[in-house]
Amino acid sequence: MSSGRSAPAHGADVIARTEAEVVGTSPVERTGADEAFEIEQELMTINLGPHHPATHGVLRLLVALEGEIVRDLKPIIGYVHTGIEKNCEDKSYWKAIPFVERMDYLSYFFNMQAFCGCVEKLLELEIPPRAKYLRTIHLELNRLHSHLVWLGTSALDLGAMSMFFYCFRDRDRILDIFEMSTGQRMHTRYFQVGGVAEDIPLGFEKKVRAFCKEFPSRVDQYEALLTNNEIFLHRTKDIGIVSRERLLELGVTGPLLRAAGEPWDLRKVSPYLAYGDLDFKIPVGTVGDGWDRFIVRIEEMRESVKIIEQALDGLPEGPWIADDRKVVLPPRHELGTSMEALIHHFKLVTEGFRVPPGEVYYPIESPRGELGCFIVADGSAKPARVHFREPSFVNLQALRDMCVGGYVADLIMNLAMLDPILGGIDR
C-alpha cells in the first residue's frame, strides 16, 4: 500500500483528507475500470476493551470500522467509578484529602493541590512562602513522574518496549525522592490545608539537585530513541490532527491544546503558588498531530527540571504550614504546655475545622490539563459537595475527532497521545 500521505494544511479536516486518499488508491481505480462502481462495505462494530493490552486503564471503545478505517467511535467509561465525590461528603476535610488523591492516580499531588487550594480559598487562608515553594517542587516532580509513565506506556503501546524500562527506571528515582520527603511512594497525602504536612528532611535538596542534574541527559537519551526514529515518525506525524478551534469547542486543555498551537497554561496566565516567581517557558506545538503532542510533553519535562532547580534556589526559610490554630494542628511540643493548643488539637482531630458556607471553583494546571476543584461548603466540618473537573474526562471527547477517518493502529496511537487516566475520568 502506498501511503501517499502529504502534509495536510493546518487544521485540515481529517475525515475528508483520508477518505479522498483511500478512495483515490482503491484497487478499482487503479485498474482503470470505466465504471467506478461503489464498493459497498458494511460497518463492523468492534469492542475494544475494557481489558486490552493498551495499558491505559479500563476504557471501553465501541469502534465502527469500515475495513481498517475508523468511521465512528464511542467511548464507554465508568468501569473504575469509585464514588469518590460522594464519599468525600461523608468525611471531614482532612479525611477527604486521601480520597481525592486517588482520582487521577498518576498526578496525586495535583489532586491534593486542587483540593487544598480550594479549601484554603474558602477559608481565606494564606499559606507561608516556604510551603508554596515546597508544594511547587513536589508538583513539578509529580509532573515529571506523570510524563515519564506516559512516555513509557505510550512507547510500549507503539511497540518500543525498551522505553518502558528506561522511563520506569527514572520514575523510581523520583519515587525515592517522594519517599524521602513524604514517607510514601505514591498517594503521599503530603499537602495539608494550610501548607505541607512536614518539612523536608536534610539531604532532600542534595538528592533533588543530583536528580535534576542528571535528568536532562536522560531526556536526551529518550529523544535519541524516539524523536527522529523513522518508524515513530511514520506513526505519529500528521496523524490525529484536530484543529485548535475544535479543541477549544470541546473544552480540551493541557498538552493537547498546546500541541495544536494555543499557548494556554494556567501556570502562566493565572499563576498560583510559586509559579509567578519562577522563569520557565511553555512549549507550544504547531500542527497538533501525535508527534507534536509527544514533543510538547518532552519539552515540558525539561522545563519542569528548570522549575525545580529554580524553586530549590529560591526556597525561603520559615514555617511550612500556616499559623492559624483553628485550621492547622499546633506543633507537638506545645501540647504539653499549652491548654489552648491541646484543645485545638483535640477539636481538629476529632471534628475537624468548620468552613464557612460558600462555593469555590479552583483550577490548576495538571499534566493533563485544567484540573478544577469545586467545593460547596455548608458551614460544617464536612464538605457538602466536592466535584473535580478532570481534564481527562473532558479531553476524552476529543478522541472521536482524532480517530475518525484514520486507521485502527492510529487509534491506539491517538489514545496513547491523549494520555487519559481512567481514575480521573471515572472518579
Binding site: 465508568g78 480559598k121 477549544l248 478544577g372 473537573r389 471527547q397
Partner: protein, 185 residues
C-alpha cells in the same frame, strides 16, 4: 473575575435582554456567580459568549450540586472562562425538584427535573451533562445521547443526591459476623 459591580451590570444587562433570566447574583472569594432560571440558560450562555464586551468563549466545566434541604434543590453550574482577559464567571441554574411535592414515589419513577441542553452550542458539555444526569437525575432536553455514563446502564437511583445512601457494607467484627452474610459462607 468581574468584580462585584461588574457582576451586577452583567446581571442587569442580561435581564434587560431576557427578562427574568437572572434571579440573583453572589460574589465571594473573588468569584462571580450568576443565579439563573434554568429555562433561559441557553440564551444566557449565548449572551455571555457573543456580546463584544464579555466573550466568555470557553466552557470549562458543567457540574451539578444538590443543596438539599434548600429550595431550589439542585444547581447546575456552568463555569465560563474568558481566555483573553483570563476571567471566570459561573452561572448556576437553580433547578427545582418536581418530586418534592406529591407523595413518595416508587423507586425509579419519580419525576425528574429538566434543563435545556447546551450541547449543540458548546460541544464540551456532552459528557459532562451526561454525568450530571447520571449522578443527579437532571434530564437535559435536547441532548443527543442522554444515558448513564459512569454507573451501569441499568442502575436505578441517582447516586450523588444527598438523600441517596452512601452504600457499602458494615464492617464485620466478631460480634456481628453471624448476622452479616458473606464472610465465609
Amino acid at each position: 473575575m468581574p468584580d462585584a459591580a461588574g457582576l451586577e451590570l452583567i446581571a442587569a444587562e442580561i435581564n434587560e435582554r431576557h427578562p427574568g433570566a437572572i434571579i440573583g447574583t453572589y460574589y465571594e472569594h473573588d468569584q462571580a456567580c450568576l443565579i439563573a432560571d434554568p429555562e433561559q440558560i441557553r440564551e444566557i450562555l449565548a449572551w455571555l459568549r457573543d456580546t463584544p464586551g464579555q466573550k466568555y468563549t470557553f466552557l470549562a466545566s458543567v457540574h451539578g450540586a444538590d443543596y438539599l434541604p434548600a429550595v431550589p434543590r439542585f444547581g447546575v453550574h456552568y463555569e465560563l472562562l474568558n481566555r483573553d482577559r483570563v476571567e471566570r464567571i459561573r452561572v448556576r441554574a437553580a433547578v427545582h425538584d418536581p418530586a418534592a411535592e406529591g407523595g413518595p414515589y416508587p423507586l425509579g419513577e419519580e419525576p425528574l427535573p429538566e434543563v435545556p441542553s447546551v450541547t449543540d452550542e458548546w460541544p464540551t458539555a456532552n459528557h459532562q451533562e451526561r454525568e450530571v444526569y447520571d449522578m443527579f437525575g437532571i434530564v437535559f432536553r435536547g441532548h443527543p445521547d442522554l444515558r448513564r455514563i459512569l454507573m451501569p446502564e441499568d442502575y436505578i437511583g441517582w447516586p450523588q443526591r444527598r438523600d441517596f445512601p452512601i452504600g457499602g457494607e458494615p464492617v464485620i467484627f466478631t460480634n456481628n459476623e453471624r448476622e452479616v452474610p458473606g464472610w465465609t459462607q
